[in-house]
Amino acid sequence: MSHSVLVCDDAIFMRTMISDILSQAGYEVVGEAETGLQAVEKYKELKPDLVTMDIVMPDMGGIDAVREIVAHDPDACILMCSAMGQQALVVEAIQAGAKDFVVKPFQPSRVLEAVQRVLG
């Protein structure tokens, strides 16, 4: 069975792109979230194998969403999606429990490598 993924980003463009990269590689995108709050709710509902998480989102940012999700499920596999220059935030997210990160602009190969690393 292929791994299930929840894609969280407030931009449709980014969600579409990430979903395309992952589906083409055989992952199953089971849900999308536009805010941190939605991300937490959908995680509890869908129990995905992997979450891709944007850092800056309205209604609870990505880092707080990571904290909530990890509090709920310590084994959650979360991959941060960051822009250049967000070093401190990414470090914070990793300390909060995110497993890895990818940097925008995304190259499909880098995203898939990171996903494979996280899913081990």
Binding site: S82, G85, Q87, A88, V90, V91, I94, Q95, V103, G120
Partner: protein, 619 residues
């Protein structure tokens, strides 16, 4: 293992850290609530301690250790850091420098550091009475710790984005394997963009080295992993850390430069020989040779280039100490630190800049009361800046002090007969001439800092030797700026080839403003000397034939090379100009009786030697 071969490297690297310590102490003193400087100082002291322990310099290790104790308490941010503590830290930094120098040279220490040591400990005690000062590290290096950990050194792929975040992933993974005790640089640095992608951590774990390495490598973007056992305070790494730089004796670079000079001459000779032959393969070789020589030359010139901060970085401390000593309040700013100069030039400008900075603090900046009365900010400002300007680098030392009292100087100069009675305005150019008269001083009394009358004279002389020039601008009540104009390199200069009769001389373009034709309409005579009208101004004319004592007169349309230093100009009349070229300046050891008007020699493309005129001296 013979450690003596590392002593020089230890000294060089320790000096860099000492420089950083002083600089960050200054920053910290300015903004005592800032957290970053103390972290940086702590790291630098810590690094020195580690290196000194490896070298077996017990005195250095001991002092650094005690400094580290105090800094460790201070970096918690829970204690207010007062002037007394700053003063102690400055003293400790000075003591550390002395102990380092004496340890490396093997000389007796000429300063007593016991006072500083005792004060460091006493200050620690007073801040944290409960805390026993940690035992000196000497004991640590003798008795290995019971729990041996592993030291892991990780290099992140240089092309990776957000290296700090990548390091955080690695740390997170390591924390799953065991207890991570020390991270170097500290985790807070990883969050900044300064982090270069190399870090080390100490971990106590039962995991196998292979497992550790596997966990790190699978974190992504990892270029290198080295795992070593921690033995005592030091670390035995399994493999050598990568080095990206090597230190090369400047004499070697000089030797290379000289050889490239020979090569250039040979290349020109080849070009001349091949030119008339109509032999295309030979022309190709000659052209290729010419490109390669030019590339080689530019590589070696680049290798000689050094950023000015290597000299500038010691000045904030100097300005601080001097202004305290003289009771002045000065804010000091450095700009253009990244500008590069030939190492040989950089080595020479330190002392002139110290002179000018001392002058600015002592004579320029007024006492606070005087400033306030004049409606100025209470603290004076001194700016040291470097900038590129065409083929030169200009360094300015500016203060917003009282400016130079021209009326008084003018009166003094007239009284001593240096200037004629009919001069009624002291222009910037005359001002510089008066200031740089040997033995001149504006100071009413000689202070320990300046006023001995060796200042500007010495500065002007050293700049002349370097083929540069000094300029001054001063406005009463607003301040004074001294500008040092320097060639970027000493090894190669662009020069005009001037001909008189059958002789050729080279004129470095540093002081050449432009070349014009000599015409009868513009030539005249001023006080019995030849002069010419140049841009609405009378400038004195010199004939190169007379300068080099060549008999005979020049004929026809003769060109004039206008030389300029600051606002001072003069025209040099020559028979003909034969274009510009880059010449390699050769060391010049003139035989007795040579006219004192040459600054060096070179070899021209056709293999004939030629002398380089000291154009600065002709103005």
């Amino acid at each position: 293992m013979d450690l003596s071969q590392y002593a020089e490297l230890f000294l060089a690297e320790t000096r860099e850290h000492l420089g950083a310590i002083n600089q960050q102490l200054l920053e910290w003193e300015r903004v005592p609530e800032a957290g970053e400087p103390v972290g940086g100082i702590f790291r630098a002291v810590h690094t020195i301690k580690g290196m000194a322990a490896t070298m077996g310099y017990a005195d250095v290790t001991d002092l650094a250790h005690r400094m580290e104790n105090l800094l460790d308490i201070l970096r918690s941010g829970e204690h207010e850091v007062n002037d007394k503590v700053f003063e102690l830290l400055f003293q400790a930094a000075d003591a550390l420098e002395k102990v380092v120098e004496s340890s490396v040279s093997g000389r007796e220490l000429d300063a007593d550091t016991s006072g500083v040591l005792a004060q460091l400990d006493a200050t620690c005690q007073s801040l944290v009475p409960a805390a026993k000062p940690a035992p000196p590290p000497v004991a640590r290096s003798v008795v290995p710790p019971q729990v041996a950990g592993k030291w892991v050194h990780v290099v992140i792929d240089p092309g990776a984005a957000l290296k700090g975040a990548r390091a955080a992933v690695v740390l997170k993974r390591m924390e799953q394997l065991g207890q991570v005790n020390t991270v170097q640089p500290p985790a807070t640095v990883l969050e900044t963009e300064d982090f270069d992608g190399e870090f080390g951590l100490r971990i106590e774990t039962s995991a196998d080295d292979n497992v550790i390495e596997e966990q790190i490598r699978t974190a992504g973007d990892i270029a290198e992993v080295n795992i070593g056992e921690v033995v005592g305070g030091g670390v035995v790494e399994r493999s050598e850390a990568r080095t990206r730089h090597i230190r090369v004796d400047l004499r070697r670079v000089d030797a290379m430069m000289n050889l490239v000079g020979e090569l250039m001459t040979t290349k020109d000779r080849l070009a001349q020989l091949s030119a008339g032959r109509g032999d295309p393969p030979l022309d190709d070789v000659s052209l290729k040779m010419s490109h390669l020589t030019a590339q080689l030359q530019s590589e070696i010139l680049d290798a000689r280039m050094t950023p000015v901060w290597q000299v500038f970085d010691r000045f904030p401390r100097l300005v601080r100490d001097l202004s305290k000593q003289l009771g002045k309040v000065v804010e000091f700013k450095v700009e253009g630190k990244e500008i590069e100069l030939d190492r040989a030039i950089l080595d020479e400008i330190g002392d002139p800049l110290v002179h000018l900075l001392r002058n600015a603090i002592d004579h320029g900046i007024e006492p606070v009361a005087e400033r306030v009365a004049a409606g100025k900010t209470p603290s004076g400002h001194i700016v040291l800046s470097a900038e590129r300007e065409r083929a030169t680098v200009v360094i300015h030392v500016s203060d917003d002090g009282r400016g130079i009292d021209r009326a008084k100087l003018l009166a003094d100069a007239k009284r001593t007969g240096m200037l004629d009675e009919d001069v009624d305005v002291l222009s910037n150019e005359l001002l510089l001439r008066v200031l740089s008269r040997p033995g001149f001083s504006t100071a009413a009394a000689v202070s320990s800092v300046s006023g001995r009358g060796v200042g500007i004279d010495a500065v002007a002389t050293s700049l002349r030797t370097l083929g540069g020039g000094l300029e001054v601008r001063s406005v009463a009540g607003e301040g004074t700026t001294f500008s040092l104009r320097l060639p970027i390199t000493l090894a190669i200069v662009r020069a005009l080839t001037a001909e008189v009769g059958a002789e050729r001389y080279l004129l470095p373009v540093t002081h050449v403003a432009e070349t014009v034709d000599l015409s009868e309409e513009t030539t005249t005579s001023l006080e019995g000397k030849d002069a010419m009208l140049y841009r609405g101004e009378m400038i004195p004319l010199l004939d190169l034939r007379k300068v080099v004592l060549l008999p005979g007169e020049g004929h026809g349309r003769r060109p004039v090379v206008v030389l300029q230093i600051g606002e001072r100009r003069s025209g040099l009349v020559v028979d003909a100009l034969a274009g510009q070229q880059e010449i390699v300046v050769k060391p010049f050891d003139p035989p007795r009786g040579t006219l004192p008007i040459f600054s060096g020699a070179t070899v021209l493309g056709d293999g004939s030697p030629a002398l380089i005129l000291d154009t600065g001296g002709l103005v």
